[in-house]
């Protein structure tokens, strides 16, 4: 049996520290409440259906100490060149570069500030939506109790954030202060967020972040997550989004490495005609374990959802895909499709695929498909029969398989994502 108490009690000192931060009384009360719930419920176990394939033993065993606010090395990033709007969180503490309040040329109607500040100033949208989506799951409560920093982005109606916002989250050794971000996109506004989580060095770390995104009518958000974790890293993320009528949400998750990564993406299509396109790619080697947990809730009619989740796994890596789609009573004309494809490059790699369709409405289109296998021998032979050597042919096929998740991403972002992917796979092929 697991011993959740041991893990849940590791954070008393951290909690005391965040509880003592200057903040509104309601916020510290809410932290207390969440902390109590987190301690009460403990960590999920394998008996919990949502954690069936993912053991938290590694988390409980990990020799993690609370992070002192020491120096964290900020690695160079290929995404830097993409946008002037970059905010770095190192070990949970924001290191804006340049400082948040002076990011150059942010359009009028864009509010970008630390989340703590938005709440301290009682900004109406922040007050309305903070905590509205995060839920009561253990890691959500953990985050609600202990988050130390995060970003607040608010777009007024009809405002377009003309360049991507690049959020870099660098973890140092040990337990990194959880991050909490809140994005509120007004009617017909548009933004692109690139959220890059990475290990600052080779040390074991535990990182946790929660994003809440609220899209108003006809708003558009492109959210790209890039996760590059060292082989000892433990990463838990939760993305929660509420989609207004006719809004569009595109999410791309590129997850590479890590001892244990758990990504929960929960979307509520809460307005008629909302659309989401969710693409994910897991690259895993060694003994990495990645769990992509998706829940798309078609709450109202006329919604469209597309899921394409892929993994490329080698050595003893394992990837779990759990894609749940719910079509609520009355959510007619829903069009939901889901595909999960896993490419296993070794005998010991493993992919677990669990689609769940729960349909409570008539006149809907829903489909799902799942396939897991190795490289196609016929394709390999075809390429070799044209003179490509085996390694080259394999690399070409693996990259072609993986790159499909980039389809549909804005053309201005694709080259940098494609070269990120190429470099990641090259490291693997060279190994």
């Amino acid at each position: 049996m697991s011993t959740p108490i041991s893990f849940t009690h590791r954070f008393d000192a951290d909690f005391a520290r965040v509880a003592a931060l200057p903040q509104p009384a309601w916020l510290s009360a809410r932290r207390r409440q969440s902390y109590a719930r987190f301690q009460h419920q403990g960590l999920p176990s394998a008996c919990d259906e949502d954690w069936k394939y993912t053991s938290l033993a590694a988390l409980e065993r990990a020799p993690l100490a609370a992070q002192e606010m020491g120096e964290v090395r900020i690695p160079a990033s290929g995404f830097d060149a993409l946008t002037p709007w970059r905010v770095v969180f190192a070990a949970g503490r924001s290191l804006p570069a340049p400082p948040l309040d002076t990011l150059a040329d942010v359009p009028a109607g864009v509010t970008l500030m630390p989340l703590a500040q938005a709440l301290a100033e009682s900004r109406p949208a922040a007050m309305q939506y903070f905590g509205s989506l995060s839920g009561e799951e253990a890691f959500a409560e953990f985050n609600s109790a202990l988050w130390g920093d995060g970003l607040y982005l608010e777009l007024a109606p009809n405002v377009t954030l003309t360049q991507p916002l690049y959020l870099q989250q660098v973890a140092g050794a040990g337990i990194t202060t959880p991050l909490r971000h809140l994005l509120v996109l007004g009617e017909n506004s548009q933004a692109t967020l690139i959220q890059h989580s990475l290990s600052g060095d080779g040390a074991a770390h535990f990182s946790n972040s929660v994003n809440e995104c609220v899209l108003g009518r006809a708003a558009r958000l492109t959210h790209i997550e890039v996760q590059e974790q060292n082989p000892q890293a433990l990463l838990f993320t939760r993305n929660l989004a509420q989609l207004g009528a006719d809004s569009r949400y595109a999410h791309l998750a590129l997850s590479a490495g890590g001892a244990l990564t758990r990504n929960d993406l929960t979307l509520r299509l809460g307005g008629q005609g909302a659309e989401c396109r969710l693409h994910g790619l897991t690259l895993g080697g060694g003994r990495s374990h990645t769990d992509q947990h998706i829940f798309v809730d078609h709450a109202l009619p006329g919604g469209t959802s597309r899921q394409l989740y892929k993994s490329v796994l080698w050595e003893r890596a394992r990837c779990v895909f759990n894609g749940r789609v719910r079509v609520a009573p009355g959510a007619t004309k829903t069009d939901a499709r889901q595909a999960n494809r896993n490419l296993l490059l070794s005998q010991d790699a493993e992919a677990d695929s669990k689609p769940q369709l729960e349909i409570f409405a008539d006149d809907v289109k829903c489909s799902h498909g799942s396939a897991t296998g190795g490289l196609d021998d016929a394709q390999l032979f075809y390429l070799r029969a044209r003179g490509l050597d085996q390694a080259e042919a394999r690399a070409l096929l693996v990259e072609a398989f993986a790159a499909e998740v980039l389809n549909g991403i804005d053309a201005s972002l694709r080259p940098i994502l494609a070269s990120w992917l190429h470099a990641k796979l090259e490291t693997h092929h060279a190994a």
């Binding site: 196609d376 394709q379 032979f381 029969a385 044209r386 003179g387 070409l396 096929l397 072609a400 790159a403």
Partner: protein
């Protein structure tokens, strides 16, 4: 050029070819005809080096090299080209990237510099035009969503760009309408050259109206049962493969009864 001696091939342990002898000189076009299941494609795939096509006996000499010890990519780089009966779809790999990698693999092997993008495109576009193919084909994934005719013409495009020493065409004519067939045949004829040999594998005589072979061989039950000139193809066209049967009983004693 190509010297096949007593070639026996088994697929998944099942013997398919029972001793093929074939000799192709530079400049020659040979046609191999035969009914379905006679082993035509097995011969083509074994020569190209497909895994699972096990040579159990015999030898193949290709331009002085022992073909059977070479990996498929080595065979290709030395100038052996197989136009596939069923060209393989490779989603996510652009046709242009594939063609360029293939050509440069061969050029590097020949000690030639790799072609840059400009020179390469110039070369490809000229061939596209001759084959009546649209340029957009270059930027689509290899064979993915291609019509049957486009796939076959794409094989010929690859063949013309790679300019092989030995081209093996495995039922390239099947599924082509007469116009496409003429275009494909013209492509093959452009490749005819004293330095090159071509092996046409076909079920029908139709292709041979446009590409005139020097020699015709009939393959049946894994053996070459007849060899002759172009007139042999015409006889097959007129009389079918049935007339061979009686002879076969005598030519191949001990052959198990066919289903």
């Amino acid at each position: 050029m190509l010297y096949i001696k007593n070639l026996h091939v088994a697929v998944e342990g099942k013997p398919i070819l029972h001793g093929i002898d074939l000799y192709l000189r530079g400049g020659e076009v040979h046609a191999i005809m035969g009914p379905n299941g006679s082993g035509k494609s097995t011969l083509a795939l074994a020569l190209a080096g497909r895994e699972g096509y096990d040579v159990t006996e015999g030898s193949v000499n290709f331009m002085g090299l022992n073909l059977l010890t070479m990996a498929p990519e080595q065979r290709a780089r030395e100038g052996l080209f197989l136009a596939f009966q069923y060209p393989v779809e490779v989603p996510g790999v652009a046709n242009v990237q594939f063609l360029k990698s293939a050509l440069n693999a061969r050029r590097v092997h020949q000690g030639l510099p790799e072609l840059d993008a400009m020179d390469f495109l110039a070369l490809v576009k000229e061939q596209l035009l001759q084959l009546g193919l649209d340029e957009s084909l270059l930027y689509r994934s290899v064979n993915e969503g291609f019509s049957g005719g486009e796939k076959k013409r794409n094989e010929i495009l690859q063949m013309l760009i790679l300019a092989p020493a030995l081209a093996i065409l495995d039922e390239t004519d099947s599924g082509l309408d007469i116009d496409a067939l003429k275009i494909v045949a013209a492509g093959v004829n452009r490749l005819r050259d004293p330095q090159r040999a071509i092996l046409l594998i076909t079920h029908y005589q139709r292709l041979l109206d446009y590409i005139r072979p020097d020699h015709v061989h009939v393959l049946d039950h894994g053996r070459i049962v007849r060899s002759g000139g172009p007139e042999l193809a015409q006889k097959l066209e007129a009389q079918g493969y049935g007339w061979l049967d009686d002879d076969l009983q005598q030519t191949i004693p001990g052959e198990e009864t066919r289903p």
